[in-house]
């Protein structure tokens, strides 16, 4: 089978054997924002030369702005629920291929406000967690914090941490006080994480970045790390209980930073393996009986 993890800014394809092992992997920057709507052609290029008929696709490709919009399943959402809801499509430009789209997952959060994920549900099904409850964080532009119970997604919350950091860095008064570099200052980062626990709230703590700079207590080179720590500190305090064990899923630069912040705040980070999307798609295909 072929597993396709198709997000907003990237596209990854995996050719998997009958046991889910990766035979070959291909990736490109042809996320849905960079396809001009020619999804079938882009996919045909990705899988060219791979003879498998079964293709599973997850991620923003199934969003309203993607190829074929898929529903959101409600929580709790287990592997069997998602597998049963896979949608089969055929396309003339992909003869002999069965395209199976994975739905997203939605939840009614606190106060009835909804939340959604699309793509992360598949990564969560790729994760090996013990029976019982597990907490998972997928850091990113919009971080997802999910709770699993016996492998089913029972709830989750999205935090706009990465986007807010980028906005403040690029467009705010605070950004103008910072050096351009991407260097990581571990001490300033930890100070920012700690600061998140003080009285006054995030909107007040943000101004502290400026005030510390004014009194030369925070160097322009250290300020981005401090700001990052401040935002992650707020996110973690709000979305993970003290003492919690948190599985971290994502690229190493981000998960390393989150692990650091979790430790400062007495939560326990647990590393997750790479390529969870491929493994999740394999499990969905097997559950649905698509692997012969």
């Amino acid at each position: 089978m072929i597993a396709v993890d198709w997000g907003s800014s990237s596209l990854r394809g995996y050719r998997l054997d009958q046991h889910g092992a990766t035979l070959e992997q291909r990736s490109s920057a042809r996320g849905i924002l960079h396809c001009d709507g020619n999804y079938a052609d882009v996919l045909a290029g990705l899988v060219d030369g791979w003879p498998d008929s079964t293709i599973l696709l997850s991620g923003m490709i199934g969003s309203r702005n993607g190829w074929i919009e898929q529903a959101y399943l409600p929580c709790p959402a287990g592997l069997a629920d998602l597998a049963a809801a896979l949608q089969l499509h055929h396309d003339a430009r992909l003869p002999g291929r069965d395209l199976w789209f994975v739905p997203g997952v939605a939840v009614q959060g606190a106060g009835g406000t909804p939340d959604v994920m699309r793509g992360e549900e598949t990564q969560l099904f790729g994760l090996d967690t013990r029976a019982g409850h597990a907490h998972v964080c997928l850091p990113g532009t919009h971080s997802k914090w999910a709770t699993l119970h016996d492998g089913a997604i029972t709830g989750f919350a999205t935090a706009m941490t990465g986007e807010v950091f980028a906005l403040l860095r690029q467009h705010s008064l605070l950004g103008r006080l910072m050096d351009d570099g991407d260097g990581f200052d571990a001490i300033a980062f930890a100070q920012g994480v700690q600061r998140s626990g003080d009285a006054g709230g995030l909107l007040h703590h943000l101004f502290g970045v400026r005030a510390l700079g004014l009194f030369e207590r925070l160097a322009p080179s250290a300020a981005p790390s401090y700001l990052s720590g401040l935002l992650l500190g707020h996110e973690i305090r709000d979305l993970a209980a003290p003492g919690a064990e948190v599985h971290l899923v994502g690229n190493t630069t981000l998960t390393t930073r989150y692990a650091h912040a979790l430790k400062v705040l007495d939560r326990t980070p647990v590393d997750a393996p790479e390529s969870l999307a491929a493994r999740g798609l394999y499990r969905l295909a097997r559950q649905r009986g698509l692997l012969g």
Copy 2:
């Protein structure tokens, strides 16, 4: 005397009589960001034809990026402290004028993180509060929340609420889901204020603006009001205790919105009069004995 309230984006001058009543008022957009450093010339133009020798100046004109940098006095800071710290300057382009600059005020907040104000201290001295404690909010790009005791500034905190709103509106994913108009939707605003009390924190609640839109539970025309309410709700919960009486100082559009949010959250708004800066500068001049 002449009172000059000189901020980043605006300049206001008041000619006051011996009792502090305004004889004449002038204003322009020549804030310190729009003076090209020609402060003396801009001031000479502002006060042209006003014969008074005593000029008091407050606001960002005394900042590092302004004309002559003034110190920050520590809290508690009373009228007598500020009056004693007024700095006298003369300038050849302003013959016969005594220029008195008002210092800023600084505080060591929670965890030792500093905070600063420059200009707002003068407005606070213009306010008539009863003896004992008073809470004051000066909403804006960077809102100030101050505590007074018998008229002295005992502490304060700045929240970047206005700037964060503008960033999200102009540059974020959320902004792209909103209509351009500035219409105020009181129901959506109150929903945002209420939402700020749910679990998950601000970074999570921000994503809810997107999710509500996705399920067509928040119209593009109502989303800016909801976002505004969400941010003000967080600011108020973090910086004013339930039941508190909060004096609101600033332009009516903003103070009306804050009053609305305060009421939703069981705090009591109290209107403040206009032109507090002029009154504060008058009181500082009188305290210093500059009025003959």
